[in-house]
């Protein structure tokens, strides 16, 4: 494998990096030297990245390249190592864990497909690997079905697997797909919670027309967002808008009970500090209300197709004038509980019926356990005990703070931590020790919850069955069928990451004849998705966020936050500004084939030109917070994402908004 890697990357010389990326060779070598010298038995390096990598037609492979580097440098599963995704919102991790992505069920089993997965047996056979910890997949999925459909999910009916919606095809439900679906009037209705697609969608002008093409839209948010106001966007005749908008006032974290899971997989519970004002309610109250009303509408129906709604377990005890549900009941459901008395394999009593589960090791695939999200099992290990609410001071030596909140899985703070010990089970160094094999006690011990079979010795052979099937005593990567870290991966755009230019680029691809990722998604919406060429659009455009503003709009409704910037702006380097006769503070038009926006030029030395393929290219940086809704003048401005094309990474379908081409003109 190492030789294959060497062959693949022999073309990627420091000189090539300089020509392709515009990073001077010396600087690149300096960074590489620091990074490599910070990796070894005594040291670890971490990589933090943000959306610059995701938002690319080559996004998954770029991030995988980082994982491979960390793996080869020994920076995975060790304190201070890892690849850390800096999230744009506080609860991105939590939302992902709970199945907001269209292709995953809560806890990451695959969302079933219509074609290949008609029955539970087909689904489990095709999605459960033959080795590694995922061999337990049937326990996770059956327990999930029991959590959702309770007594109606029986062995006889495949635990109500029929009720589960199936995906039509593998790529059909990403953000860009459904926005294009709205544009083409295939999608008729939309419930939008805590998101502002009128501003945060790529090709946002098209996206706003898509929203206006809907028949109905429900927006649940703290303020009347640009999305909620899309029918009265400045310059648009409200009569031309088809959509009927229902605006439901929502509540932020301080006004409701619930949890937020951060990028280190740690869930922290928050308790309502104040009541939401006026008619505002928590999103949980809204969802529970919708479910309750749906059940009432379907009551008495004999139709088979209505069973998923009628049989849904939906008892969250809404209370008070606003019918706020009891969120600890939601937590208990996520944690999992027994549906009958359970005994262990020797027949000794383990749980009484209805008790919360202490560990996902107790989950079963026979319907005797219900669990809404197996990775969170242990967060509510007994009635009234909410581990995410803990704020304990760390005990002596516990620098990972295991008494604060709850990190999935099993309150483990560093995953793959078997890799923190050498093959014989000893720490790689005293300084970086985390867990190790205690030969006398015959178990793994140390400063974290072992991410390994707790009693599997370092010299243990591959397990032939059981929950760790296929894993030997030296295999740290227990979620993989072979227990090993994986350089050669089976994802759609190739086993190894490869460089492709963005779809709009000032240069040809110097590394191969293939200019762009051949598997990237190009949305077919005709002229709305035209791409620019460097002769007409000579500048590189990148988009980003500012610390002071929330991604797509919350901050623009708060005067104290809106006060921090004068208004929308584009950052331009002094050399480019001089060439175009632009002074700091002048209005400029930034244009791509998709749209034009007017913003103020902020001329700064922080933005420097690149030498790419031996040619000087200027860069323009534009934050993307602004929109037409906002509490004061400085909060309103053109929508940066109007400039961005409708393209997608082949795996995630995330747009390419960090590297595109534009033209810039001084306003007369």
């Amino acid at each position: 494998m190492f030789q294959r890697l060497r062959r693949q990357y022999s073309r990627y010389t420091p000189e090539m990096v300089e020509r392709v990326c515009g990073i001077p060779k010396e600087l690149f070598l300096k960074v590489a030297d620091i990074y490599c010298s910070a990796s070894g038995p005594d040291k670890t390096a971490t990589v933090s990245y943000a959306l610059q990598l995701n938002q690319s037609t080559n996004g998954v492979q770029q991030i995988r390249a980082l994982c491979m580097l960390q793996l080869i440098l020994g920076n995975i599963g060790r304190p201070g190592g890892g690849v850390v995704a800096l999230r744009g919102h506080s609860n991105v991790q939590g939302a992902t864990d709970f199945g907001t992505l269209y292709h995953m069920l809560p806890g990451y089993p695959a969302a079933p497909l219509q074609g290949p997965h008609p029955t539970l047996t087909d689904y489990l056979e095709k999605t459960t690997p033959k080795g590694g910890y995922w061999v337990n997949n049937p326990k996770f999925v059956v327990s999930l079905l029991k959590a959702w459909w309770g007594p109606a999910a029986t062995t006889a009916n495949d635990y109500a697997y029929d009720y589960l919606p199936k995906r039509e095809k593998a790529d059909a439900y990403s953000h860009q797909h459904f926005v294009v679906g709205m544009y083409e009037k295939k999608v008729k209705g939309f419930i939008c919670m805590g998101q502002n697609p009128a501003v945060d969608s790529p090709n946002a002008k098209m996206a706003r027309q898509a929203l206006r093409n809907l028949e109905w839209m429900v927006v649940v948010d703290l303020f009347e967002t640009d999305t909620a106001a899309v029918w009265k966007e400045p310059g648009i005749d409200p009569k031309s808008s088809q959509v009927e908008v229902f605006y439901i006032p929502g509540a932020p974290a301080a006004e409701k009970d619930g949890s937020i899971t951060n990028t280190m997989r740690m869930a922290q519970w928050h308790v309502r500090a104040v009541e939401p004002p006026g008619d505002a309610r928590s999103d949980a109250a809204f969802i529970v209300d919708v479910g309750t009303r749906l059940k009432a509408l379907y009551a008495g129906s004999k139709a088979r197709r209505d069973r998923p709604v009628l049989d849904l377990v939906w008892d969250y005890q809404p209370q008070g004038p606003k019918q706020e549900p009891n969120m600890e009941l939601v937590l208990k459901e996520c944690n999992g509980y027994t549906t009958e008395d359970l005994t262990d394999k020797d027949g000794a009593p383990l749980y009484k019926k209805g008790e919360p589960l202490k560990t996902f090791g107790h989950l079963r695939d026979d319907g005797s356990t219900a669990c809404g999200n197996w990775i969170y099992t242990g967060i509510y290990p007994e009635e009234g005990k909410n581990m995410a609410l803990r704020r304990e001071k760390p005990k002596a030596g516990d620098y990972l703070g295991h008494g604060w909140g709850f990190a999935w899985p099993a309150n483990r703070r560093i995953i793959y931590n078997r890799a923190s010990a050498d093959p014989s089970g000893k720490p790689w160094s005293e300084k970086k020790k985390l867990i190790w094999w205690d030969a006398e006690a015959k178990k793994w011990v140390g400063n974290d919850v072992p991410d390994f079979s707790p009693t599997m010795a370092p010299d243990a052979p591959r397990a032939k069955d059981g929950p760790f099937k296929g894993v030997s005593g030296t295999d740290a990567f227990i979620m993989n069928p072979h227990g090993l870290g994986q350089f050669f991966a089976s994802i759609v755009d190739g086993p190894f990451p490869e460089h492709y230019e963005p779809f709009e680029s000032p240069t040809q691809n110097l590394l191969s004849k293939v200019q762009t990722n051949p598997l990237a998604k190009v949305y077919n919406i005709g002229d709305l998705n035209k791409l620019g060429t460097p002769d007409r659009y000579p500048y590189i455009l990148t988009t980003y966020r500012l610390t002071e503003h929330h991604a797509a709009g919350m901050s623009r409704h708060v005067p104290w936050l809106s006060e921090l910037f004068f208004g929308h702006f584009a950052e331009i380097g002094p050399e480019m500004a001089k060439e175009l006769g632009i002074r700091n503070g002048d209005m400029v038009t930034v244009e791509t084939p998709r749209a034009k926006i007017k913003v103020r030029a902020l001329v700064t030395e922080r933005i420097q030109p690149f030498m790419i393929n031996d040619k000087k290219v200027y860069q323009v940086g534009i934050p993307w917070h602004w929109g037409y809704q906002g509490v004061m003048q400085s909060a309103r401005g053109d929508v940066t994402n109007d400039l961005v094309a409708s393209l997608g990474d082949p795996t995630t379908f995330i747009q390419e908004s960090k590297a595109l081409l534009c033209n810039v003109r001084k306003e007369a």
Binding site: E563, F565, T604
Partner: protein
């Protein structure tokens, strides 16, 4: 007098997020203002009667015009040991608290604005609605109830630290040594020395370069200190003008005689 309380702002830790500015406005219930175009991320240009905290942004470039460092510094009232505003106040509205902070009693202030021009740092601002001078109080209500000022509480990097002055000074000196070992050879403290300018500042700073980079006077002094020199200069000027006049008149007299 109780032990002196102080604020230590370490600019090497400031990320320019401006949470301090917003926390200040929120706690003190200061009205939002329309921002101004400053040509940088900074807003506003200056302290105002509604902005007691101000993060200043400076871009330092080298000889070739390449960016060397993007400086951010959260600026605030210094609560000087020798406070120009306090000395200039004719009504006694400006007073020193038992913690060493300097406050303006809004009920007594007559709006004369002597303090505005007496502040060497341009901190004190005039509120046209109330007709009084206003500025940071270190969140007087909070510190008298055992809480630190709102800005220090909100600072996510602990760039703003609040506590007893003598303890903070130790922390600050240690931090300068630490930064020097890391290669920041121009790191220095500003206003920490009680034997230095203005008897020391109760909001003192760790800077990564000369004070002028951050828009701070190299040697702040009270306008009152100028009185003797200025008076002598005035007397000198008067003498020169008088002598000149004598010479001129004598010359004219001579012509008259001719």
């Amino acid at each position: 007098m109780a032990r002196t309380l102080a604020m230590f702002t370490d600019v090497s830790l400031c990320i320019g997020c401006r949470a301090c500015q917003v926390a200040c406005k929120q706690w003190n219930q200061l009205a939002p203002e329309e921002p101004e175009w400053t040509g940088t991320y900074q807003n506003h240009h200056h302290f105002t009667d509604k902005s007691y905290r101000l993060v200043r942004f400076f871009e330092e470039t080298d000889d070739k015009g390449q960016i060397k460092q993007w400086h951010m510094m959260s600026d605030v009232c210094k609560h000087c040991a020798q406070a120009g505003c306090l000395e200039a106040c004719p009504t006694g509205a400006i007073y020193r608290t038992e913690y060493g902070t300097v406050n303006i009693n809004q009920d007594i202030c007559n709006g004369c604005r002597y303090c505005v021009s007496a502040c060497p740092f341009g901190v004190v601002a005039f509120n046209h609605d109330t007709g009084t001078a206003t500025k940071c109080t270190f969140c007087n209500d909070r510190i008298h109830n055992g809480l630190g000022p709102a800005c220090a509480k909100a600072c996510p990097t602990q760039s703003i630290k609040f506590g007893f002055r003598d303890e903070l000074a130790v922390v600050a000196r240690k931090r300068v040594d630490e930064l020097k070992t890391l290669g920041y050879k121009d790191a220095r403290l500003y206003g920490e020395d009680t034997a230095g300018d203005l008897g020391g500042l109760n909001a003192f700073f760790l800077l990564l370069g000369k004070p002028s980079i951050y828009g701070l006077p190299e040697k702040p002094k009270l306008p009152q200190k100028n009185v003797v020199v200025d008076s002598l200069l005035s007397i000198g000027s008067a003498l020169i003008v008088g002598l000149g006049a004598l010479v001129a008149f004598r010359g004219r007299g001579g012509q008259g005689d001719a």
